[in-house]
Symmetry: C5
Subunit: 353 residues, 5 copies
């Protein structure tokens, strides 16, 4: 189930000065740093050894430092500070549970993104924090998990000679775009789940798994929370511009903003549908209960009086004249049938049958 | 049922560079291109052969290129790019599932519209993406389905000599107006459905088809989502103006904006009513269940004690003095009647009968 | 019941050019035109014959042309165009189902108002469109129904010599004010209904008429929709001013705006109350059902075991030693009483009795 | 119960010209006018005789005219007009049911305040309109009821020599502050009620008085409606300033605005809590019903089969071999016990017991 | 349970002049004043004797006066006024129940913060008012409880030589930051509770403690109310700046604002989840009731007719031919089995089993 507060550990930070770089959050993967650089010649991509100094930015060169796994907080901190990140931003990188935002105040451009991911069960949702820092000729990415496949599409796109990103801005956009693409991917999987649940609720409410609707709503809440703040943040960035943003990247960001709007609307509509399904489920249950109650009521109303009557003639009083009448037994059967028929007719008239 | 996410296929686009013209969406119709041109002489309308070059814009001439069916993505792409559309816009044309918007940033004016349509069952709603591009002397329309009837009213209005649209702006307005007219058409059909469901809920809740209210709400959600963004987009266009927009088209757009506001209000009110009907249905079910329960309770409360009593005198103990009393049997009947009458009286007093 | 979409007929207008003056809406009354004019001498009021030309505006004269009933669309159109109304506005006059608005863009001042009216049953609500056009020395009013009584208060106020309205603006305000007064009238009737329903829900939920709450909510929705847009429209008019608006009329409009705010708040609060009543009704039903169920449960829990026991000693086995014991029968009665008393005691302890 | 629309009587005002000073509203108290004036010497306070002229403002003097009871509409009107109030404002004073507002457009400063008051039962809420008019050296207050105690705190504060208010602005603030203090008083009483109802809902839902929650919500709605508009109105007054407002009064008003914000938040939170209690009550009822149903189900499921079996061996067929078996009776008891035990075990396993 | 209105006692303040320093609120701790000062040499920290004068601000010195416990209102008042606080602010300090706000209008910077705290039971929530006043070289803090541990982290951070805060602004930020850290702490504890309740609702709804969900929602409401106003207030402070705010403190405040946004979003999401759990609980109850009802219905529907039949053959009529048939008894058993099997089959077919 989607966890309520991903980054626990507030107690550990109580009253610490701002910028204390303690890693707070779920257990992170071991830190692996991959450096890709584009300049003259083909792109170069290699794993940075722990003790090795990261490459400095240089004119005509673009360096991408991808930090996968935040377990080695000291190394992450040293690396980030080495590229000029403010201590407060380093804190946010390590304290994974930040809200999505774009921070354009310092020298560079800093983004917190939240990447939603599902397990085999689409309702097993979690989200991972991805921090991106852009400066002249440098892109840094920090992510909680060392998942090689995540950035593979970027390597395919920019990995061949002549396909270098035109600047940090274009590479930064590509990362954000990838995250938004993942949001759509997750929304699609959730939409499939929602359609299945919809069919169940409307056709066979009894078969609905107990927690399914609640988990779906929680999942959509998680996705929405991760992407929604990007609307305002991107709109501001596009409107205000930034020294690092070239014409093309800005054009791309406008398109990205549109995707974000679409994703949020999608998530909202799905949440509305899920809420509607909860209502529909309650209505379906109420209607089933009502049906069953009507049957029970009918059976009891018909048979309780009859059973009583049978009970009366089962009494052992000495003086019960009817017991000795010749046609009493058939007459009682007539009464039985008449009472039952009358009650059924009355039920019909009331619209209960 | 209204599908949650029309354009699936996020996986196919993961990490692709912006502007990749892959057709993503439901299977589209084969591409058919119809060119209409107004200039000197009568309007000319013909189907463009696949290999044929589309006509270039020329002074004193208005060309309308209607692309019906997007299956041939390459052809669509070539055609759009030929008229100067940006790669990002071409992508949106082919990736049908975009949100409604007006894009006035480039050289032309680009609109995504969503056309709602019902099948024989008004609740079988789907919406089709219609992209419109306006430039000097040129109008392009791109739509998912090759439905000849859709634009027939425009052909009737502009198809006779002397009735040429005064510019791309007027023709563009006419397309948008047609879409909004369809929205009203669909809302009317849904309003009929809603009135029928309202009558059922209030008169015969048992007869309400299981999924009807949910489907109605989903349909209204779809219609609302398709039209609501147009409020802000049109208001901005009217307020800011655009080089392509003449005085008359702007006047028309103001009127269109008013229609859009009306359609959204209509849809909102219908959604509110539908939500109210869900509440009313639950209340009606609750009230039915309550009625049935009261009957059941009455019958059981009256007959269970009586049956018990009859059972007592049906016991076979050797020493049961009452069995031998002369008037025991009539006396027991008196008790039966008294108990029953007392309970009925008590029910009455409690307001349960 | 309040109809969802008053003005049906979208199909008839599909793709028509803007400004097509087709009457679309409920069947309207036959057109009757009453002209009142104030100038030197006493006010003059007369019915305009169908072929007669309406009076032209003149300096020092105020002319009010009241068009009651829109059945004769051609005459309405000619008359409106004669006074300089735009074709798009004429279309809105005839297509009765427009949303409330104020249109200050052209030469005159155009208003769509919606007049709510109840029948004998306050919940039989409908609303009528009243279009008002103001120009220098001229006021035009267009309304769906030829109801002589509607404007009677205005005739009383302005009909005597020396009481002429000081200009088109003051007369226009008087019409709008009358509509808002009617809104309060309708809200008062609905408030009476709401109080009655409130008493029923809280005192005798079973007696609540089936559809009453739903109809009340629908009625309030209709009233609110008709008046709410006037808030923004009047506020803008008062803020921006208009060449036709004199100091006094603007002062009056500010007051009217305050009435409108009050009416909307009233309607909102009544809607909230009505929603609360729906909740209260469900709670009351639930509580009734709960009470009845507890009784049923008690009766069944007490008598089913007793009846079983009686049944046991009604069995006809040859070898049942108890049947022959001397005090068996009184002993069984003791058991009966003990079991019943124990169960009642246990119910009491659980708080179910 | 809080009445929906305090000031009925819309019909009486239909089409009247603006500024018609008809008293419309609940029956008001007889008009009593108290004049207090501060100048040289001790403050003077006396009741103004009906025929007496109210004191004119003079330099160095502050006059407070408190009109308690609006029954004598003519006198109220004459008095108000005498101090320069606009006819539209006089109308609002007499038509008690206005919404809370501040009107800073004319020469003076006009306020409508709504004073909530409870009877012995805190849920017996009503609100009274208090109109305040400030001009240079003059404060007028108009209130529906002639309640001597209401302004007593002001007399205590300003009634001693040397404690004169420094101007009309400070006295006006004191009146508004008193109204807001009353709002807190009423909110406190309602908070006590809410806590009691909360305890009932959570501990003994059956004991909850039928209408209590609904009445609480209605009361909070009334209080909120009366105070909420003051947020915007005061904020504007503080922001824009006014010739009558001195530095100190403006400082005080800022503080008052903060109180108003707090009162509205309080009322909102209490409304949210009350809504939550409605939900909790429904859940508690549902849970009680569920419990009772489980018991009923258990008893019926155990005893109906047993009773049937007993009934079988109570049949009078000639040929029933079991009846003659030696150990049949004990064997049947074994069956009884086994069936009952098995069913109880099965209930346990399903978590129903 | 979270109390609705912490600071009762409105009656005591009715009509008092603004700035009356009466302590209104829950009983407060005895007043203890701790003064810390940083200048040359090591920081000095000591308890101020009741009669002792607090240190005056001096250039090159920073003084922090921490007032813990507000019972001695006179002393608190004297101290605050001595440092130049306005009477209205002193009133707010003593009337603990103010809403969170930042007040930057006077000479200093004044903040009301609300510190949420839980007892052993995380749902035993209360909040304490903390007032902070910043001036040149002086920081005052006023808090309801004399809890030594609360500010301990600040003493650790700033208590060593060479770690003095660079100014009143940095110390003020540290206090606010501590409060926000506590908010996260409380949210974490509530998130744990919510996860437990979620598991209960979805797995074993019967085991859910009666009031738990309601109390959770109330607690989240309290936390949200305390922190939410800080969003706007801090954003304004950061945007507008203030003479007391240095570059570093402003940088820190921006970070704090981000934490506040995150805390509010967290609280909102948890509230949404809690509301969803209420829905899920109702659905689970409904589903349980439905299941139990189906069982009851099945048992009654099968056994009531059988019992009736058994009752019929238990009647004592003289003339009942079946009683004497040779195979009647086995035949009746066949009927019993057939009826039961038929009913079970029918239940299955309806999907009720
Ligand atoms: Mg989370
Ligand atoms: Mg967070
Ligand atoms: Mg988080
Ligand atoms: Mg977030
Ligand atoms: Mg976050
Ligand atoms: Mg619901
Ligand atoms: Mg869609
Ligand atoms: Mg889509
Ligand atoms: Mg959309
Ligand atoms: Mg879309
Ligand atoms: Mg979309
Ligand atoms: Mg609902
Ligand atoms: Mg309507
Ligand atoms: Mg309409
Ligand atoms: Mg309308
Ligand atoms: Mg409308
Ligand atoms: Mg409409
Ligand atoms: Mg009102
Ligand atoms: Mg409801
Ligand atoms: Mg509710
Ligand atoms: Mg009222
Ligand atoms: Mg009122
Ligand atoms: Mg009011
Ligand atoms: Mg109001
Ligand atoms: Mg509180
Ligand atoms: Mg409080
Ligand atoms: Mg607050
Ligand atoms: Mg507070
Ligand atoms: Mg408060
Ligand atoms: Mg709810
Ligand atoms: Mg809900």
């Amino acid at each position: 189930m989607a966890k309520q507060m991903e980054a626990r550990g507030a107690a550990a930070k109580l009253g610490l000065p701002p910028g204390s770089a303690v890693h707070v959050g779920a257990v992170s993967d071991p830190t692996r740093v991959v450096v890709t650089s584009w300049g003259e010649g083909p792109p170069q991509r290699r794993i940075l050894a722990p003790e090795e100094a990261p490459p400095a930015p240089a004119p005509g060169r673009l360096v991408w430092v991808d930090v996968a796994g935040l377990a080695d907080a000291a190394r992450v901190r040293a690396l980030a500070v080495g590229y000029g990140l403010d201590a407060l931003l380093v804190e946010d990188i390590l304290h994974t549970g930040q809200r999505t935002r774009v921070d354009a105040e310092g020298t560079g451009l800093f983004m917190i993104l939240r990447l939603p991911r599902t397990g085999d069960d689409p309702l097993d949702l979690a989200d991972e924090q991805i921090a991106v820092f852009l400066a002249e000729g440098v892109v840094l990415t920090f992510r909680e998990h060392d998942d090689e496949g995540l950035f593979a599409p970027l390597e395919r796109r920019f990995g061949r000679r002549g396909h270098a990103p035109s600047g940090a801005d274009v590479l930064g956009h590509a990362v954000a775009d990838l995250v938004v693409d993942h949001v759509f991917l997750v929304l699609e999987r959730l939409a499939d789940v929602e359609e299945e649940l919809e069919a169940l609720v409307l056709e066979r409410p009894e078969a609905l798994p107990r927690a399914a609707l609640h988990r779906l709503r929680q999942g959509l809440l998680l996705v929405r929370r991760g992407i929604a703040p990007l609307r305002g943040e991107l709109a501001e960035l596009v409107r205000e511009g930034h020294p690092l943003l070239g014409r093309q990247a800005r054009h791309y960001l406008r398109d990205l903003l549109d995707h974000v709007l679409r994703a949020v609307e999608e998530a909202e509509a799905m949440r509305e549908t899920a809420a509607g399904l909860t209502d529909a489920y309650l209505a379906a249950l109420g209607q089933r209960t009502n049906e069953v109650m009507k049957l029970l009521s009918l059976v009891a109303t018909v048979f309780l009086p009859l059973t009583f009557l049978a009970g009366v003639y089962g009494m052992n009083f000495e003086h019960m004249p009817e017991l000795h009448w010749r046609w009493a037994y058939p007459a009682v059967w007539l009464v039985f049938v008449a009472v039952a028929a009358g009650l059924v007719w009355w039920f019909r008239r009331r619209g209960w049958l």
